[in-house]
């Protein structure tokens, strides 16, 4: 497919690519365009960029800074809880032969595919009973419903790829299994830990459903915060744009950096990239 025949296809590719970029660029336009132009002439793209919306939302005392910090605390917290548990689970899933191993693996996958709304309502009541609604802890607990199975499913692939000979040699030398995991396996499985952590983090960062009912005030993360600018008095498109741009920048950069693992990450390890 080279030469003269390819130019219509090339044009087609550029048009399609542009179409996929439009929603992201539109949010950016909303964020940096003075709001009076957005209201008066939505198709005017010859404006002077104005970073005022970012300044207001993420400035001192602004509503976005709390959201950013909450998003970070909750996503990092949930990842920090999920990763060690997933590491232990993956060792158990890949370094022993036993009946039911596949069932446990399928259970983790089933949890990733179950409708999250099924967990939200009972978790809301149970977390209210123990009095943690509105705290970061409530969200970190609720995020485990997907962060932990996701980390297990992704990390398992990395564990399976490693040859067990080295570990067997270490065990012959009298190393205990925990010791083998810590000193032999973990150093070589580090890329897998990073990939699992990145995807668990992004899934938490992008979550709306659990964060919405379980947070309030200071603990509201960015995804939920962005919705708060739809006031009855009017919609603040520039604030929505600024919040959304910051919210999407983080997973976009991380996905781009780890793009070789996207396919595996988003199919929960079912399709290798």
């Amino acid at each position: 497919m080279t030469g003269k025949r390819s130019w219509p296809l090339q044009v087609l590719m550029w048009i399609v690519t542009a179409l996929f970029a439009v929603p992201v660029l539109w949010l950016l336009v909303l964020a940096i365009r003075p709001s009076d132009i957005t209201v008066a002439n939505p198709l005017d793209f010859s404006f002077v960029p104005d970073l005022g919306a970012f300044g207001y939302v993420f400035g001192p005392g602004g509503p976005g800074m709390n959201g950013l910090v909450s998003s970070l605390i909750q996503s990092l917290g949930a990842t920090a809880v999920a990763l060690p548990l997933a590491t232990l689970a993956c060792y158990g899933l890949t370094r022993f032969e036993y009946r039911g191993r596949q069932v446990i693996g399928a259970w983790y996958l089933g949890l990733m595919l179950a409708p999250p709304v099924v967990f939200v309502i009972p978790l809301f009541i149970l977390l209210a009973r123990i009095g943690v609604i509105g705290t970061d802890l409530a969200v970190v607990i609720a995020f485990q419903t997907f962060a932990l199975p996701l980390a297990v499913l992704l990390l398992r692939g990395f564990f399976e790829e490693l040859p067990v000979e080295l570990e067997e040699a270490a065990m012959m030398d009298g190393c205990s299994r925990p010791r083998v995991l810590w000193s032999v396996l973990l150093p070589v499985v580090r890329p897998g830990l990073l990939v699992s952590a990145i995807f668990a983090f992004c899934f938490c960062w992008n979550n709306l459903l659990f964060a919405m009912p379980l947070t309030g005030g200071e603990t509201v993360p960015l995804t939920v915060r962005a919705l708060s600018f739809f006031a009855t008095s009017g919609v603040s498109w520039s604030y929505i744009g600024a919040t959304a741009v910051v919210s999407m920048l983080v997973p976009m950069l991380l996905f781009f950096a780890f793009r070789r693992h996207i396919v595996s990450g988003l199919t929960f390890g079912a399709v290798k990239g």
């Binding site: 390819s6 296809l9 399609v16 996958l109 089933g110 099924v118 009972p122 498109w237 976009m252």
Partner: protein, 314 residues
């Protein structure tokens, strides 16, 4: 109930039968201690809430009436759910939505992958752009499209009116005739690139020399795709189609952000109906019964997925 159905499959894999050594192995030396922490956490955050929902689905529990659950009412909540026109409508709507977006996303995704596989100049840029929709939060994607659909300040109505196409007075999201389609476009925008990335990865396994040889033997482009490429990526395609279908049945964020189920109930999906019944109307009993109905529907789909992916790996 996801777990229950999955457990039944325990009987069927004929893996390595546990040898005498395995049977004598003390529990401490086996995988148990390694799996226990994560299994305990997941039992606490997912299985326990599900069982708790099952109990709640059998009793009168309305936070608007009383903070504590009242007596058991048998299957009344299930009866109420399964005769509720809104709930039944939301199930049908959700399945229709999921079916449509899955078909569109898979077809467009494959076509786009074929286009990118030609390696025309600029393919690298295109691939980078396609990572963006996949990475961002569905809630943010919903916001992007809600802002683009806004009847006064949005890009879409303004561009359409500039080229002489009218849009509904209440806006694309405010009209029962267009709201569903508008949200579906959001979903297609976000997940078509996902299909493309997967298909591109799968097509790397299609050897170029074989395709070249077939071409020399006179096979046309369509023929090569149909007889050579499609069979090789078929299983991956089946996996991604079922995955997309399940995830579209579970859809929540883009609808919540853009329409909250409105206007009327024209975009009320299963997830929204359950969410609003439980956390806006506070009818926990009814919402719990609804979650169980939804769980059964998705559990069936999940098992289809497991069968398909397992056959692939075998």
């Amino acid at each position: 109930m996801t777990e229950g159905v999955l457990t039944r499959r325990a009987v069927e894999p004929v893996e390595v039968p546990p040898g005498p050594r395995a049977r004598r192995r003390p529990w401490r030396a086996g995988p148990g201690p390694w799996l226990l922490p994560s299994v305990l956490v997941l039992l606490a955050v997912s299985l326990f809430p599900q069982v708790y929902a099952l109990v709640n689905s059998l009793r009168f529990y309305n936070l608007g009436v009383d903070l504590d659950p009242r007596g058991f009412v048998g299957l009344d909540n299930y009866g109420a759910a399964l005769t509720d026109a809104t709930f039944l409508g939301s199930i049908a709507r959700t399945l229709l939505f999921a079916g449509c977006v899955t078909v569109v996303e898979v077809v467009l995704g494959v076509l786009l992958a074929l286009l990118l596989r030609l390696d025309l100049p600029g393919t690298g840029v295109a691939r980078s752009v396609l990572v963006m929709p996949v990475a961002i939060a569905p809630a943010v994607a919903g916001l992007a499209f809600r802002s683009m659909y806004d009847p006064a300040t949005g890009l879409v109505p303004n561009v359409l009116s500039a080229i002489g196409i009218g849009t509904p007075e209440g806006g694309l999201l405010g009209d029962p005739g267009t709201a569903m389609l508008a949200v579906a476009v959001t979903d297609v925008w976000q997940w078509t690139p996902f299909v493309t990335l997967i298909v591109l990865a799968a097509m790397q396994g299609v050897p170029g020399e074989v395709v070249e040889a077939a071409r020399l033997d006179g096979a046309g482009t369509v023929r090569v795709l149909w007889s050579m490429v499609l069979p090789l990526i078929g299983s991956t395609l089946a996996t991604v189609a079922i995955l997309r279908f399940i995830q579209s049945v579970n859809v929540f964020d883009i609808f919540y952000v853009q329409t909250r189920g409105g206007p009327g109930t024209s975009t009320t999906t299963l997830g929204l109906d359950i969410y609003f019944t439980g956390l806006s109307d506070y009818n926990i009993g009814l919402a719990s019964a609804m979650t169980w109905v939804a769980s059964v529907v998705v559990a069936v789909l999940v098992n289809v997925y497991l069968v398909v992916t397992n056959r692939r790996n075998a």
